[in-house]
Symmetry: C2
Subunit: 571 residues, 2 copies
């Protein structure tokens, strides 16, 4: 856009590209609702005023007009959707800005994988911004697909739409001045650095913040959030598929603090995106729970833009991007029309423009498993007791238990009655043949097996089952599909959702992906588990940075001691 | 500062460099006053908490501790002080951040002059930030010392502590898509661009803002400021030596708007700096007039820092600069101790550290006047009437009047009874010999003459007087002093203030400069003028961008028509 042309439209000397008339403008800058016509030119807002002359006029008939919503922290991989389909899910809901940390793809595909994903996000009717993953791999106790070095981060820092360093999860490393993590954080000294510091308080929080992070999305208690805000963190109030902090944290928001709070979802499944929404759902819930709608919109637009230094987003004002949403009912956040860069892209919940084809090349063949047999899954011991990973309902932490187990010929057997199932993690990046095997309690399968190539953070293939044969079949099917979620029973595949992109994302359209996901979850439930989200639960059992006991391709990890259990612990 | 060392102090593993105990911390982040000890290391704040261990401990005995104040818009040249002495005036008052636009020095010394000034600002116990002058020269109707081109701005944009483009005064040029000014503004598309748009409203304001400026310090009416804020401008509430907008604009500040308002002084004389203060005075006045002291401090610290994207200033929190002020009484903003980068630099109104010597080299010989005689000042006409510049009390605008004049031998004579005095502007940058001569009404001198090398914006030498002899003597003395303010009577110099740095700044210490300035003002008053600030008034009579009639070295300028008056108008 030529600046002179934009000015000519703003000054009323030239017709606007688009004129939105009879709008009630949600002014995020002063917190008021104002009336006016909005002149748009070259994808930008020329001004709000008494404009009349335009190539196209849309009468908003008194609807509210707000800036496009921005989700300040979302891992789009959690939706298992291709970015194109992610946009299809969220754009009609008014989400026109997404700040994402491609942590999962980076663990599989490294810098090149991220580059591809960033490319696929271009040309969509939604602005994607990227925070560079700070902790790839998550630990040295597993085999990941890639390592992101400081040198690579330095390179990627200059990429278009890269806005900072993603959540610095290794907060103990920061507090203890670990050199590797400080090197990375130091690179982003003048940039936005996202924090991730669950429960961190007092002097440890000071130490973490002195290093640079100025936001946090992990507060689960009001006092914790208050302390973080008082020390200079923007508090990202998170309401995701599993982590729900809105009700607890909403009382944080008052006249003196609201500018330093904004909404994020962190992780949302494709099912939730379709049914409930993205950050629009958080806005809606916040309004339901009593937050002033204008303030709720400020907290999903301007505040987020200010934190991320996106100086042209978040307001309906001259020179800002014409990313606009027309809202027919403010209290229920019912989004009617969605404009991206001044172009109507969605209406009444549906896209009205075509989206590009789904590209997958470069990330469509990442599963490399060395062939293995049921024998390899044998769990040998000389003792009558064995360590067991015990699930904690609704959480991603586990307990480390020791249970008496059935042993036959020196081999530990699953015990379905006592819900002691076999858990297996198969290395899948470079066909090393690494296989970790353990017992898990609390999964509740009565028969069959589940396998998945989504297993945080290294995304090896993880499987749980009652019988080795079903586990083997399921893992082999994941390999055949080049990634996916698989349910087996009686030696046969009974349901599956292919995730051929990095083993993480579907190559299907939104509706089809949601349908497939529902079916595998139903099939899993049919095997007896009562977990509300069995594949999500499974995916966190390899996450060796969350206590207490986890399983990676290298074996059982005592997360509290941060070490692999050895023969001395097991035999 | 090594990041690991800072973290170690924050985490309580290592002693702080400095510990401030028993403080009531003014938390600008949440608007509350909180208690705690402040640990400082490497010039940064490690944290606020229960810290005990330090190399140096200062007990604040319950005093308030706030971030150093920041003046968001000040032309330090208006003080006529060298930057070192400017710091000496403001640092003990708690001003530790200064955003300045070296517009005056740039008009005399161009890019190189700015570079020198910026150098002299280094090493002082105060952060100086620079906005690059956008309009040098101010007009083509005068001879300036320099022109700042787009290419030069592009170069200077990368200099350390340069944070954006200074007030875009040519707002008609922007609104009318003038290519020269848009070229400059376009260079700073992703940076901070200050506005300057007195009275601009409606679609013209939209047009101006679409180009980029996101602040304004020229609002004189509440409604005007409200509109500017609602369209995305940060409103700089100005309270300077002459322009006083605080009382009018304070009602703008409420829970929904205060984050987008901050305090500036724009121009303050050395006398006012010493007597009343810098932005600390604005804070004090705002509190007197009912603003909550914590909010007033937020508006002179964090808000300013946020607008200018100074992410380490404006809060007492981990990782922020340890620029701190201890306040013994909050309501009267009585500043006791001042810490810059963690070091006590001032106490009870006095610096406690040495400041560097005043450097002047490179800007100490800028006055070049071609010798001239009284004859050159003859004002010839064939008509009985002549155009006259009429002062408007308290304002920098003038009226264009036509008066009957005394004429002898075709030469117009001053008329002291009717207060029609001779006004002369002598080009002084390149000894061209250009001299503009006119009549001014309202100055009130009964005898003698005043001359000054401060004459906005080109800073040629301007003089007013009752007799040509005194005018000539005064201009010659300005030349001899290499710049300055001079008062003559009876053909002799009776008072003077040398301003040998660019013809704009004194090379004296703060107190001496103030004393000299008081004396020349008293001497001017002794010649009969009743103007409260005769040299300030004189300095604006050459400003050819403020209506209606002004005088430059090229002659009389009709500012409304934006042209020089020619023989057809005068003879």
């Amino acid at each position: 856009m030529n600046l002179a042309d934009l000015i000519a439209v703003a000054a009323g000397r030239a017709p606007a590209d688009l004129l939105l008339t009879d709008a009630r403008v949600v002014n995020t800058l002063n917190g008021r609702v104002e009336s006016g016509n909005i002149a748009v030119a070259g994808g930008l807002i020329a001004g709000v005023g008494d404009y009349r002359d335009a190539h196209q006029v849309i009468d908003l008939e008194g609807m509210y007009l707000a800036p496009g919503l921005i989700d300040g922290h979302i891992h789009i991989e959690s939706s298992m959707l291709h970015p194109v389909e992610y946009a299809r899910a969220v754009v009609p809901r008014g989400v026109l800005g997404v700040v994402t940390d491609l942590h999962e793809v980076a663990n599989v595909g490294g810098l090149e994988g991220m580059r591809l994903m960033i490319k696929w996000c271009q040309g969509l009717p939604c602005d994607f911004f990227f925070m560079l993953p700070s902790c790839v791999p998550a630990s040295h106790l597993e085999t990941s697909g890639a390592t992101l070095t400081s040198a690579e981060l330095r390179k990627a820092r200059r990429w278009k739409n890269v806005v900072g360093l993603g959540e610095v999860m290794n907060y103990p490393g920061v507090v203890n001045s670990d050199r590797g993590v400080l090197d990375k954080v130091g690179l982003f000294r003048d940039d936005v650095v996202d924090g991730h510091a669950p429960g961190l308080r007092g002097e440890s929080l000071n130490a973490y913040m002195a290093a640079g992070p100025r936001s946090d999305h992990e507060s689960t208690k009001l006092d914790e959030a208050k302390e973080k805000l008082s020390k200079g963190m923007y508090v990202m109030i998170r309401e995701g598929s599993s982590e729900k902090n809105l009700a607890e944290l909403l009382p944080l928001v008052d006249d003196g603090t609201y500018k330093r709070c904004f909404f994020v979802v962190d992780d949302r499944s494709c099912v939730d995106l379709l049914k409930d929404g993205d950050v629009d759902a958080v806005v809606r819930h916040a309004i339901n729970w009593g937050l002033d709608p204008v303030r709720a919109i400020q907290m999903a637009t301007l505040n987020t833009a200010e934190y991320f230094r996106l100086h042209r987003l978040g307001a309906v004002a001259p020179g800002y991007a014409a990313n606009l949403i027309a809202i027919s009912d403010l209290d229920s956040m019912k989004v009617d029309m969605v404009f991206y860069q001044g172009r109507l892209v969605a209406r009444r919940g549906e896209m009205v423009v075509d989206l590009p084809k789904l590209r997958t090349k470069g990330l469509d063949s990442t599963i490399r498993i060395k062939p293995f047999s049921e024998d390899t899954m044998a769990l040998r011991t000389g003792k009558p007791e064995f360590p067991v990973i015990e699930l904690v309902p609704g959480q991603i932490v586990t307990r480390k238990k020791t249970e008496k187990v059935h042993i036959r010929d020196g081999v530990v057997l699953p015990d379905i009655e006592r819900d002691l199932l076999k858990l297996v993690v198969v290395e899948r990046h470079r066909a090393t043949g690494n296989i970790g095997v353990a017992l898990v309690k609390g999964f509740g399968l009565k028969r069959g097996a589940l396998a998945s190539s989504v297993a945080h953070d290294s995304h090896n293939v993880i499987a749980v089952g009652c019988r080795d044969e079903d586990i083997l079949t399921a893992v082999n099917e994941v390999q055949r599909l080049r990634g996916g979620l698989v349910v087996c029973e009686g030696g046969a595949v009974i349901a599956s959702m292919p995730l051929p992109i990095a083993g993480l994302l579907s190559d299907k359209r939104l509706q089809a992906a949601v349908e497939e996901f529902r079916k595998v979850e139903q099939a899993a439930a049919g095997l007896g588990t009562r977990l509300p989200a069995p594949f999500a639960t499974l995916s966190f059992l390899a996450l060796a940075v969350v206590p207490e006991l986890k399983l990676t391709d290298l074996g059982l990890v005592d997360v509290v001691q941060f070490r692999l259990l050895g023969p001395e612990d097991l035999e």
